[in-house]
């Protein structure tokens, strides 16, 4: 039976959510039970986003290494915590949060929360906490869970859930017989916080959309449970053999983990075992190559990717040669303890026996010469496409397992060498040979292996790490092309490789940074508040919301003009038939600067303050739509007002210390942290139910604004110290073709 995946749990939760939405009118008749259900699901969602973006809000502001979705996750987390707080206060008003009985089974939203919680638990089975409190990867999937594609998919998923839950919370706030007066505004506020959480995902969705493969990867994540050991049985079917190979490969990978840490001291880690696994690697590569060549012979009738299969077979042949070279490099080298059958040896043995029975025409195949048998007829091996895909998957798992074994054994052998655990017989040492007559003065039969021999061994292991990695990658491609059941693993591995590649790209030069409002860093309002040492999370969040609104508007403007509208210089060059891209780019820049200058001149002539960053950016884009320009002015005014307030507050009292930028990850303030803010984002203050937020007051958009700080005018640039701009020539596109790299630093893990 296939293991449950994250997707299974998520879809179960979505089903319950749909049920809840469909009968929410009925559920809302009992506001206490409905509110408790809602609180529970929001609470689970906060745990998800806390895992995705485990920085507190103020700490995240100062980090330049966060990518767009991580920043969105931080904002969403903050909103979700506020939503949970509001729901909690509403339930306290109904006296139901603490003292109420357990929710009865079968309530759909509570069931949805349970499914979501189970999904989160499933993800966490791949991670553990080390003795120092740091996160420790328990399985190879841990790297996938912390990868950019899964972060994108999880954050997007939570934003989607927020969107679905917001109307439910708002419906609870409507007058009903069981609803206390104080609870209604709290439920309404929760709905607004949920809507805001949804809005925080919008810039990230526009700039870095979540792809189908991102979601496929997330949905395919299995639990970290290890299957039970099963000895190969006689006359297993091909399907049984494929399943057994997959299980053995998984167990082999688990057994290989931590080998480097054990190698320095454990007597169970021996040269015999390392030599044996190298032998197993060579034999596995040999057998898998034969299987793939057989499958390639069936490529035509079954519609298999022949090229990919042949490429993978060739890569496996190279891997076999490298493993063989490792066994040769062991030569006379040994350890002080003799061979012990480790779990890795047992699993590799099972894997080889099943692989041999799959490849060869003998259901009782073993490596012994007496059981030598010809290869199976390809038509018998893969009678149909489904069987072929299952075999590709089994081979894929086997190759990936030995890729892991190669890396683990390299680390282990290096550790053993450093611990002086590698020996050779004294009799092969040239010095001893020359002193033939007094060899008994050397009291031991073995001495520490000379450097040249261990260096050759390490070099052979390095070669096999490369070769087995290439073989596994070739099988990734084959599995994807063949639609094999292991394609999710191929996607996961590709995601991790993409992270690795991005982390090694050099940062672009700052002077080449092009204007882009989606740099992933704080916008101008947030940046100015940080400069002013504002630490109040709610004020910071107001700034973030203003910045997000500006970013949305600029995105909308860019979409509406399809890029930068041609200006007079640009048009003239077009009329002259100029196609030189450098000249056209220069013309566009001159036009943009001209538009901005004209806007500033007009504003100055009218006696108003200079345009803010959103308005400037729209002018640079050549936007003339008065509605858009008015919206930009409103947003700029809000940002300037907030900054002015913060500056006035700073002038009144001593500056708060700048929040320490987290070297690691600090705990996020809990739901009880912070204080209610009557102004933002629409949650009425206690005692003033129904009042609207000051941030939404209508009025002359520019009246409150003094000339903003220079940083406000740079909204469109969104520059960060050492940051990079997606889409800029100096910032190459991501391997998956979704725009530029978000930050020069590696994805934090």
């Amino acid at each position: 039976m296939a293991a449950v995946t994250f997707g299974d749990l998520l879809f179960t939760g979505v089903g319950h959510l749909e049920t809840a939405s469909g009968r929410w009118d009925q559920e809302a008749g009992d506001p206490l039970a409905a509110g408790r259900q809602l609180y529970r699901v929001v609470d689970v969602m906060t745990r998800y986003v806390d895992g995705v973006a485990p920085w507190d809000y103020a700490g995240a502001l100062g980090r330049a290494d966060l990518v767009l979705w991580q920043r969105a996750g931080t904002h969403i987390a903050q909103s979700l915590h506020r939503a949970a707080q509001a729901l909690g206060r509403g339930l306290e008003g109904l006296e139901g949060l603490q003292a109420g009985p357990e929710l009865p089974l079968g309530l759909p939203l509570a069931e949805a929360a349970t499914a979501l919680l189970a999904g989160r638990d499933l993800l966490n089975t791949h991670l553990a906490t080390g003795p120092d409190g740091a996160r420790v990867e328990r399985t190879e999937w841990a790297q996938v869970i912390t990868s950019a594609p899964v972060t994108r998919a999880v954050t997007d998923m939570i934003a989607w859930w927020c969107q679905q839950l917001a109307p439910l919370a708002e419906q609870l706030s409507r007058p009903s017989p069981g609803l206390a007066a104080g609870a209604a505004p709290e439920f309404a506020a929760a709905g607004q916080w949920l809507r805001q959480a949804t809005a925080f995902a919008r810039p990230a969705r526009l700039a870095d959309p979540v792809s189908v493969s991102d979601r496929t990867l997330l949905f395919a994540i299995p639990p970290a449970a290890m299957s039970a050991w099963e000895r190969p049985r006689a006359a297993e079917t091909a399907a049984d053999l494929c399943g057994g190979i997959t299980r053995s490969a998984s167990r082999l990978q688990a057994a290989a983990r931590g080998a480097a840490q054990r190698a320095a001291w454990s007597p169970a880690e021996t040269a015999g075992a390392w030599r044996w696994t190298a032998t197993a690697g060579a034999v596995t590569s040999h057998l898998t190559e034969a299987v793939l060549r057989s499958l390639a012979a069936r490529a035509g009738p079954l519609g298999l990717p022949e090229g990919e299969l042949h490429a993978a077979a060739a890569a496996l042949a190279a891997s076999q040669a490298s493993w063989h070279q490792v066994t040769a490099a062991w030569g006379l080298i040994t350890t002080e303890t003799r061979f012990l059958a480790t779990p890795a040896v047992t699993e590799a043995s099972d894997l080889i026996v099943r692989l041999g029975r799959l490849a060869c025409d003998d259901p009782a195949w073993t490596p012994a010469a007496a059981h030598h048998a010809p290869l199976r007829d390809p038509a018998v091996l893969a009678p149909d496409a489904a069987a072929a895909a299952a075999i590709v998957a089994a081979v894929h798992y086997a190759a990936c397992a030995f890729e892991r074994v190669a890396a683990a054994d390299l680390g282990a052998v290096e550790a053993a060498r450093q611990a002086l655990r590698l020996y050779v017989p004294t009799r092969i040492i040239p010095d001893a040979r020359r002193r033939k007559n007094d060899w008994r003065t050397i009291p031991r039969a073995y001495v520490i292996a000379p450097e040249e021999q261990t260096a050759a061994l390490i070099e052979a292991y390095r070669a096999v790490v490369t070769a087995s990695g290439q073989a596994a990658q070739a099988l990734d491609q084959a599995a994807l092309a063949a639609g094999a059941p292991s394609r999710a693993m191929a996607l996961a591995r590709e995601a991790f490789r993409a992270e690795e590649r991005l982390s090694h790209l050099p940062p672009p030069a700052d002077d080449l940074a092009a204007p882009n409002p989606w740099a992933g860093g704080p916008g101008p309002a947030e940046g100015e508040l940080v400069r002013l040492r504002v630490t109040d999370p709610l004020v910071l969040q107001r700034a973030a919301a203003i910045d997000a609104a500006g970013q949305n508007l600029i995105t909308e403007a860019r979409t509406s003009v399809g890029g930068q509208a041609p200006g007079p210089v640009d048009s003239e060059l077009a009329r002259l038939g100029v196609t030189d891209p450098v000249m056209l780019q220069r013309a566009a820049a001159i036009d943009a600067a001209g538009r901005k200058l004209i806007l500033e001149a007009r504003t100055a002539a009218a006696g108003g303050p200079p345009p803010g960053p959103a308005e400037s950016e729209l002018a640079r884009l050549g936007i003339t739509d008065p509605v858009m320009l008015q919206r930009a002015a409103v947003i700029d005014a809000a940002g300037q007002k907030l900054t002015a307030e913060a500056r006035a507050a700073a002038d009144r009292g001593p500056a708060a210390p700048v929040p320490a930028l987290p070297a690691g990850r600090g705990p996020r303030p809990g739901p009880a942290a912070g204080r209610a803010d009557p102004d933002f984002p629409g949650r009425p203050a206690a005692g003033r139910p129904g009042s609207r937020a000051a941030g939404r007051r209508r009025g002359p958009p520019r009246a409150a604004g003094r000339p903003g700080p220079s940083v406000l005018r740079s909204w469109g640039s969104g520059r960060l110290p050492g940051g990079s701009r997606p889409g800029h020539p100096a910032n190459p596109p991501r391997p998956d073709g979704r725009g530029g790299r978000c930050q020069p630093c590696s994805w934090p893990k």
Binding site: V283, T327, T334, P367, A368, A370, A432, A445
Partner: protein, 134 residues
């Protein structure tokens, strides 16, 4: 004279535990190298030869760590034996297994006895892997 015959002769003529250990060490090393070299000959016995090579290396190390193993020089080289087929190597392994098992009961030192037993097991494994392979 074929290398395998030289090895077999040394085994037959070994007198005393140290001599036998040294001859066995060389025989196992010979099998290890020969089996590894034969694996790629295309006879379809890649797995058998490779695991036989690994088993021989393990048996070699077992006798190499015996307390009575002399720490002196190697005996005059017998050369590589890449041409050997599975059958002769299986025969040599069978002979080794028998000799090691027989001596295991006669050695004075417990460490030597344990080494002979381990070597006998390794030789038996090599023989089972290669027997019937032509």
């Amino acid at each position: 004279m074929r290398a395998i015959d030289v090895i077999t002769g040394r085994l037959d003529h070994a007198a005393g535990v140290p001599d036998l250990l040294a001859a066995a060490w060389e025989a196992f090393e010979f099998i290890r190298a020969a089996a590894s070299g034969c694996a790629d000959t295309g006879a379809g016995l890649y797995a058998a030869f490779m695991f036989a090579s690994a088993a021989a290396a393990e048996a070699r190390d077992a006798v190499g760590m015996a307390p009575s193993m002399p720490a002196g020089d190697l005996a005059p080289g017998v050369g590589q034996a890449l041409e050997e087929a599975a059958g002769p190597l299986a025969e040599l392994a069978g002979a080794l297994a028998a000799r090691m098992a027989a001596t295991a009961g006669q050695a004075d030192d417990p460490g030597d006895r344990e080494a002979f037993r381990a070597a006998a097991a390794g030789a038996g494994q090599v023989r089972r892997l290669l027997a019937g392979g032509g």
